[in-house]
């Protein structure tokens, strides 16, 4: 394990079970390497061997990184945290698809989805609103700023009435929940040909707009959140549907329609974005 630069071969730890070893794979990874925001970046090839089909995609990257560090090379930077598909921190383009070939998060994609000898391209989310920090890690604070623009219900602590004072029909609560499951990973932006954040914004507008508690701020919320996503430099929505197809939580396109419905209603009612 001395040669580690481009074209080098890396093996994962010893295969404990010989019966399993024969299923292990050798893969060629083409990974986007970019030292920092100012660097131009390029694709670099690595070969990894003894990859178990039971590994998650991130565990496969761990194997690569362990070997890179031992060889004194810079490991591939990638974001990840919970590794159970809920925090939304991980996310890379795998063979041109956000989170890879399954509709799940990158951490829940397992190597059994690939075959021995495959070449896998790994790239960061690409959008001007998601500047690359390093390699595969990008800055997604733009999504938080969309939330800051109105993705909340103003209920300062201590002001809440008794929980049962407002009834919420089960149908509405369920629909709100479905929209609220968005984990803010940014796959929708990454997959969208226009790099639009519409599905993300729509999920929050839907979640809060479907709850009775969300009504007082409903008009202002939608106009301000939409204005903020434009300000952040996201693209416009042309209803292609790549976002929903890439969404690990299956947030549906109907949320976008609901946002538009609310937006038109809000504009008619005279709501205007705060400058």
């Amino acid at each position: 394990m001395t040669a580690t630069r481009e074209g080098a071969t890396f093996a994962s730890g010893t295969a404990a079970d010989p019966a399993m070893a024969k299923h292990d794979m050798t893969l060629t990874l083409r990974v986007w390497r970019q030292k920092g925001p100012a660097d131009k970046g390029r694709m670099v090839s690595y070969t990894v061997t003894d990859i178990s089909p039971d590994m998650s995609f991130l565990e496969m990257l761990d194997v690569l990184n362990e070997q890179l560090i031992q060889a004194g090379d810079d490991p591939v930077a990638f974001d990840h945290d919970c590794r159970e598909g809920i925090c939304g921190m991980c996310g890379v383009m795998i063979n041109g698809q956000a989170h890879g070939p399954e509709q799940t998060t990158t951490c829940q994609l397992h190597m059994r989805k690939f075959s021995d000898g495959d070449t896998i391209d790994v790239e960061p989310w690409r959008a001007s609103a998601f500047p690359v920090i390093k390699d595969l890690a990008v800055d997604r604070r733009a999504l938080d700023r969309i939330i800051q623009a109105g993705g909340y219900i103003s209920a300062p602590t201590g002001t809440a009435p008794e929980a049962h004072s407002v009834l919420v029909p089960k149908k509405d609560a369920d629909a709100a929940f479905d929209a609220a499951t968005c984990i803010g990973c940014g796959a929708c932006v990454a997959a969208c040909p226009n790099a639009s954040s519409m599905l993300f914004t729509a999920a929050k507008v839907s979640h809060l707009g479907l709850m009775p508690q969300g009504q007082p701020e409903r008009n202002d919320r939608v106009v301000n959140m939409v204005a903020q996503q434009d300000r952040e430099g996201f693209g416009g929505c042309t209803n292609i549907g790549e976002c929903s197809a890439a969404c690990p939580k299956g947030i549906s396109m109907e949320n976008i329609s609901r946002l538009n419905h609310d937006l038109l209603g809000a504009l008619r009612a005279g709501a205007r974005p705060k400058s």
Binding site: R126, N194, G236, G241, A245, E254, H261
Partner: protein, 208 residues
């Protein structure tokens, strides 16, 4: 985008139905053409209604074009660096060809106006009647081919456009989604079929 598209779509419906008058014969078709120019007379001067229609359409076209260009520009700015590998999953051929398809359809409309409205590029010339211009043009297989390609592109444009407009106007939901998409497909096929029937009828000598 959605509103201007709907304006043009409504016009297309009327246009397609009007075109079918060609099967009623030369007199009927030319008479229909003349009628469009005289609606409202004598209360208003000749061509008033037609001019209004033309102005509305022109505004719709400009608005549609302007919206498309700004969306396009916004998308370019939103992703200055493209992916090395990108695999489309959900997008249909129709949604993928909205932009170039739209441009081609736009250019086709210019040609179409010069051909059949003005007659400048029509083999029968500017002085011929609308019926003669149509027959003269569509007798040429190349002209018909141009119309067929452009109309199929227009059909795909409408197929995605109708779905997209329903979304943009906030009228879609999970329950309706299938219906909207089916309607968009059927509607586009019928409309384009209605348009295509004319050139083909001329080409195959059913109308002469």
């Amino acid at each position: 985008m959605a509103v201007s598209g709907i304006v043009m779509l409504l016009y297309l419906i009327a246009h397609m139905i009007g075109n079918l008058k060609i099967f009623a014969g030369r007199e009927s078709f030319n008479g229909y053409s003349e009628w469009i120019r005289t609606i409202g007379e004598p209360a208003v001067p000749a061509q008033t209604t037609l001019t209004i229609i033309r102005i509305v359409l022109l505004v719709a076209v400009v608005a549609h074009f302007w919206a498309a260009v700004s969306l396009w520009r916004q998308a370019k700015q939103a992703r200055p660096q493209r992916y090395v590998t990108k695999k489309p999953v959900a997008q249909s051929y129709a949604s993928r060809t909205m932009r170039w398809g739209g441009v081609i359809v736009g250019l086709f409309i210019v040609y179409h106006i010069l051909d059949l409205t003005v007659g400048a590029v029509n083999p029968a010339g500017t002085d011929a009647s609308p019926y003669d211009r149509a027959v003269a043009g569509f007798s040429n297989p190349f002209v018909t081919a141009v119309y067929v390609i452009a109309l199929i592109l227009l059909g795909m444009h409408l197929r995605h456009g109708i779905w997209s407009a329903t979304q943009t106007l906030g009228q879609s939901n999970k329950r309706r989604e299938k219906t909207v998409n089916l309607f968009a497909l059927v509607f586009s096929v019928v409309l384009i079929g209605g348009f295509l029937i004319v050139p083909f009828s001329v080409l195959f000598g059913l109308v002469d």
